[in-house]
Structure formats: structure tokens, C-alpha cells
């Protein structure tokens, strides 16, 4: 959860970068279009009978618009449209609305209330799939409201980046994507129908933006490969963006052939490629056969709004373990603090990247840490779990964390609760560990966190664009540390992998493999391109 970056752009406008979650990889450059402009107002009728007629007509209009769209849609899209039509034609949906019209309600309010009640039911579901259908129900609601108000909905300009809280599937289908454009959402889900459609059509899409977009004027750069949008970009940013975009298109074409195959270098060396995930639902869109497991499952998302209980965590971990089957899943204990504040957990600090974050915070809040440890121990029998600790600087921190695992294991055993002790490893991201790894000869594995390792070695905050040029994993100092940690691991039988952004960056992959790494973990969207990049490296 990085903070927005502010710095001076052209004409004194402030350029602003907002990070989010990639839902469909790609790049888009274009004008911003606000999806959430308030709709027109409904003109009430004199009698209940007229209100009823008015609602019937609006539902009819919505159905015929959908049917017209379905005629030219491909099979995925037609399936969704048929679902909307079937819902609209079902009296069970409109029944409550007609009932409240009979008792004096206006058509628009009656329809809105009836649909909002239905939407609330979907939002309350404990299954991601059904929860994602709330977006379809909102779409159905708004199509009828639009027909009721006869709002001539102005369409987005060609190539626009559609921004807002969420986007309706029909809005996606109505939009002409043949000349580019993209989607940037404050809410949204990678499991939504629109995300699915966007992936199959190659429309760039980012969801879960960390900051409000504010004034939606001017043009923007959408990077849906890594997950960010830049508002009011500088000419230099536009130049760099176009290079990334062109390289993405070229790589994508080549990469598709590599996704289904195991990764092998030009010299025939096998490289393990795992995925990084943040939310259990991330795995819904990934075919397990295309990767070697989960190299990093972040757990901060669970701590987003409030502290999660043991059961919530257990279910989240178990879901991913069961999905991965025999392949390993490396879960990182909560890495809050730094740029990832959690209300009720993290503390305010002058220099949070150097403060109480990661394992330091967990060891300071044992009540919270023990809950996570129990959830992990209980989830372990459901797959091949590995657990790692973030921000380890001294061996003592690892030993205390491992002792807590042993204590909780004994307590679970005494209570007869099913559990298993997973291998315990550490993130190598604090320079003290990378420089003197011999203090950690007893850990089960190392996972190099290249983002933090780079920012600490270069003394360049990774959320500060003004020092971004310093923040390179390919600086000889960073690469030398990666090389020496990898060599130490090889000599001492400790597996070493890397799970930072560099692992999925085709420009950095040759350096990482030359430094000795044979195990990378990358964002799911970068899987194919990472494998393609590996195949070009002559090591």
C-alpha cells in the first residue's frame, strides 16, 4: 500500500502516481473519463398505475438494448448479457419493486430499493464468485434507472481511461476498445466479469487504487502490467512509459508460447518460476500448471481494515494451499509498517521504512502474531506450506519467531488440533543479513526481497520518484549482495529464491541468473514474459 508520489510536472501541475492491483496487463495512454458522474433525475408520475407502466417500459427498454448488444457479442460477452436479460425478465426480481409502487413509491426509488436489497445479498456472500456478481446486479439496476431517466449517456472519448469506483459489464461491452483505452478502479476485483473480459480482450485494467483519483481532467498513463496510473505526467514520464509500452507489446507476442512450458535458459538450465500473490482470490485466474508454486503470499491484505481473526486467516491460507496442491506455497508473516500502515497495529513514525515494521512489529505485538502463527500451523496440513519472516536483521529475531511457532505448535498438540510445523525461512532484504548471512545457517530457506534490499542498499526510498533513478536492482552493489547470498545458500544447502519486482522484470532477469539465482517469484501477469526472458539468458 504505497503512498502516492507527488512531484512537479509540466505547467506547475502536480504529477501524481497512484498504485493499484493489475487486473489485466497492458499499457494505455489517454484522457481520463469519470464513470461516476451523477445520473439524470427521474420525473415522477401522477398515479401508481403510471409508475408501474413506466417501470415496465424501462425494463423492456433495458432488455432490448441488451439483446441488441448480445447479437454482435462474442460468446463470453453474450453469456453475460444473457444472464442480465434472464435476471431482468424474472418477475422475482421486479416483484418487490412493483409491490412498493402499489403502496405509493415512485418507479425509480422502488426499483433502486428492490435491487439494492438483492445486491446486499450478493455482497454478503462468503464466496468470491458470488460476491463479484454484485457488480452485475448494480449494472442491471443502473440500466433500468438509465432507461427510466432517459439519460442520454455521453460515451467516453476514444482511447479514454475509464476511472471510477467500479465499472458495469455493459459499460465495458458498449465501449469501443479498438483504439486503445483502459480501466482504473478504486474498488473492483480481479475476479469480476469485467476483469475476465478485459484479460480476454487485452484491455489494460488496474483495480484497488490506493488513493482517490481526485480531479479527473487531462490525460493519464495507465501501467496495468505493474499496477499504477500517473496523472498529469511529465514529458520524461511519457517517454519512459511509451518505451515500456512498446516493449510490452513485443514481449507479449513472443511470451505466450512460453507460459505452459517449464522455464529453461538458453544453455538448458532449469529455473523455477513461482508467483507472488496478495489476495487468496488472485489464484482464481492462474493455472497452477503454468508455475512452480507461490513464492510469496503477502498477508497484509487480511489486515487491511481491521485485525483478522484466526479463522479468517486459516481459511485464506487453506484456500491457496489447496489450490497449489503439491506445489509449495510460501506465506510471509504480516509485513505491516513502512509504507503499509494498519490501523490498530502499526505506529506512526518519522521514518517508517527504518522503524517498527515486519517482524519487528510482530515481535512487539505478540497477541496479534500468535493468532497468525496458529492459523498458519493449522492450515499447513492442507498443502505444502513454507513460512517466512520479513525484515529480519538479526538472528535473534528469527530465533524468537521460531520459538513462538514451537510454543503454539505444542499448545495445538496439547489441544489435539490438527496442524503441521512448516519449514521456516527468512526474507533477505536488510543489508545486515545479505552482508553476513552466516548468522542464519540454521534457517530452512532464504527469499531475497529485492525491492527493500535495493532501497536500503541505495538509501533511496522506493516510493519517492525523485530518487527513483537510484533505485536499481542492477547496481553492482545490490547484485554483488544477491550473488554472495546465493553462493552462501548453495554452499550451506539453503535454498535461495527472489521475490521482488526484479524477478519479473525481463531487463533484470539476466543479471539475476548470472548472480546465481535459479528460483524467481513474479507477479502472475508477468509469468509468461519472465519465462520468455529466461529462455534468452545464456547461463
Amino acid at each position: 500500500m504505497r503512498l502516492a508520489r507527488f512531484f512537479a510536472g509540466p505547467q506547475g501541475m502536480r504529477a501524481m502516481r497512484i498504485e493499484g492491483v493489475p487486473a489485466s496487463a497492458g499499457y494505455a495512454e489517454g484522457p481520463l473519463f469519470d464513470l461516476d458522474r451523477s445520473p439524470a433525475v427521474y420525473a415522477g408520475k401522477a398515479t401508481a398505475t403510471e409508475e408501474k407502466t413506466s417501470l415496465q417500459a424501462a425494463i423492456g427498454t433495458a432488455v432490448s438494448r441488451l439483446a441488441a448488444m448480445a447479437e454482435t457479442a462474442d460468446s463470453d460477452a453474450a453469456g453475460i448479457l444473457e444472464f442480465h436479460i434472464a435476471m431482468l425478465e424474472d418477475n422475482a426480481l421486479s416483484g418487490p419493486a412493483f409491490a412498493s409502487i402499489a403502496s405509493g413509491q415512485t418507479a425509480d426509488a422502488a426499483w433502486r430499493e428492490a435491487l439494492d436489497a438483492e445486491i446486499a445479498g450478493y455482497e454478503a456472500s462468503d464466496q468470491d464468485y458470488f460476491r463479484a456478481r454484485a457488480t452485475d446486479l448494480r449494472d442491471i439496476r443502473d440500466q433500468v434507472l438509465r432507461a427510466l431517466t432517459e439519460d442520454v449517456d455521453s460515451t467516453a472519448p476514444t482511447g479514454a481511461i475509464l476511472c471510477g469506483e467500479d465499472i458495469a459489464p455493459t459499460r465495458f461491452l458498449e465501449t469501443d476498445w479498438s483504439h486503445g483505452g483502459g480501466i482504473a478502479l478504486k474498488a473492483g476485483s480481479t475476479a469480476s466479469h469485467v476483469a475476465m473480459l478485459a484479460r480476454s480482450r487485452g484491455v489494460p485494467m488496474v483495480v484497488g487504487l490506493r488513493e482517490p483519483l481526485g480531479d479527473l481532467a487531462g490525460m493519464a498513463l495507465l501501467d496495468a502490467e505493474h499496477g499504477s496510473i500517473v496523472l498529469a505526467p511529465s514529458p520524461a514520464e511519457i517517454g519512459a512509459f511509451r518505451l515500456s509500452s512498446a516493449s510490452f507489446v513485443a514481449r507479449q507476442g513472443v511470451a505466450r508460447r512460453f507460459l505452459a512450458r517449464p522455464a529453461v535458459t538458453k544453455a538448458g538450465t532449469a529455473v523455477r518460476v513461482q508467483v507472488n500473490i496478495a489476495d487468496p482470490s488472485d489464484v482464481d485466474g492462474i493455472d497452477i500448471a503454468t508455475c512452480d508454486g507461490v513464492g510469496l503470499m503477502r498477508t497484509e491484505f487480511l489486515f487491511g481494515k481491521n485485525l483478522p481473526d484466526e479463522e479468517t486467516q486459516y481459511r485464506a491460507y487453506r484456500k491457496v494451499l489447496e489450490w497449489a496442491g503439491e506445489k509449495p506455497v510460501t506465506i510471509r508473516t504480516v509485513d505491516a509498517g513502512g509504507d503499509k500502515p494498519v490501523p490498530g497495529f502499526t505506529v506512526e513514525e518519522g521514518n517508517p521504512f527504518l522503524g517498527l515494521r515486519g517482524i519487528r512489529l510482530s515481535l512487539a505485538r505478540l497477541d496479534i502474531f500468535r493468532v497468525q502463527i496458529r492459523a498458519l500451523l493449522r492450515a499447513a496440513p492442507h498443502g505444502t506450506l513454507k513460512v517466512m519472516f520479513p525484515m529480519i536483521a538479526m538472528a535473534d529475531e528469527y530465533e524468537r519467531a521460531a520459538a513462538l511457532f514451537a510454543e503454539e505448535q505444542a499448545a495445538l498438540a496439547a489441544r489435539g488440533v490438527a496442524h503441521r510445523m512448516p519449514p521456516l525461512g527468512i526474507m533477505v532484504e536488510v543489508p545486515s543479513v545479505a552482508i553476513a548471512p552466516e548468522a542464519f545457517a540454521g534457517v530452512a530457506f532464504f527469499s531475497i526481497g529485492s525491492n527493500d534490499l535495493t532501497q536500503y542498499v541505495m538509501a533511496a526510498a522506493r516510493d519517492n520518484a525523485a530518487v527513483a533513478h537510484l533505485n536499481s536492482v542492477r547496481h553492482p552493489a545490490v547484485l554483488r549482495l544477491i550473488g554472495s547470498v546465493t553462493a552462501f545458500g548453495r554452499e550451506n544447502g539453503i535454498p535461495v529464491s527472489l521475490c521482488g519486482d526484479a524477478g519479473g522484470d525481463p531487463a533484470s532477469i539476466p543479471s539475476l541468473l548470472k548472480a546465481g539465482l535459479r528460483d524467481l517469484s513474479v507477479a502472475p501477469a508477468q509469468l509468461a514474459m519472465a519465462k520468455a526472458a529466461i529462455s534468452d539468458v545464456p547461463v
Binding site: I80, M87, D90, Q127, Y129, F130, R133, D136, D287
Partner: protein
């Protein structure tokens, strides 16, 4: 003439009785004169199998044992046809919804 039939079937479709399968399921149910209902447990609650709103509201995920019952003309045929549709995974290609 009145008849009644009841049977159960395991949902093996990847995300369960979801949007597209529900469209097919209710369309098929509507081709029968009999009253058709579904439930996630033998003792209900029962949902009208001809209403997609109700079928979706049942929120039946993969692995659910779906109970189907019918009463009236052609009850047997209705239950048999619906069971077969679920067993055929709603005639969808595996991985259809899994665009990467």
C-alpha cells in the same frame, strides 16, 4: 394427473451454479409443466428452479449436493433432464471462465 420426483446431484462445475449455468438451468426447467424446485439440503429451503433470481440466490458452489424435486406433469422427466445438465457441467468447456 399428478406425479412427484426427487433426486440429488453433485455440482462439479468449477465455480458452481453460477451465472451462465443458472441461465441454462432455469431455461431448461421452464420447458416442463411441472413445478420444479432446488435446495442445498434435503430439508430445504427450496427455491423455484424456474426463477434465475432464486437459483442464483441459492449460491451453490462447486462440491454442493444439489437437491432437485418436481411435482406435476412430467415431474420425472424434469428431474432427470436437470440432473443430466448438472452432470454434463452445464455443457461448458472446462476452463471456459478461466481466461488467464
Amino acid at each position: 394427473m399428478s406425479a412427484a420426483a426427487e433426486a440429488t446431484v453433485l455440482i462439479t462445475h468449477d465455480v458452481g451454479l453460477h451465472a451462465r449455468p443458472s441461465v441454462k438451468f432455469t431455461k431448461l426447467a421452464k420447458t416442463f409443466a411441472a413445478d420444479v424446485e432446488i435446495a442445498l439440503a434435503a430439508n430445504g429451503p427450496w427455491f423455484d428452479a424456474k426463477s434465475i433470481v432464486k437459483v442464483m440466490a441459492a449460491k451453490a458452489p462447486k462440491g454442493t449436493v444439489l437437491h432437485i424435486r418436481a411435482r406435476g406433469n412430467g415431474a420425472d422427466d424434469a428431474v432427470r433432464a436437470l440432473i443430466e445438465l448438472v452432470q454434463r457441467d452445464f455443457d461448458e468447456d472446462a476452463g471456459h471462465v478461466r481466461s488467464a
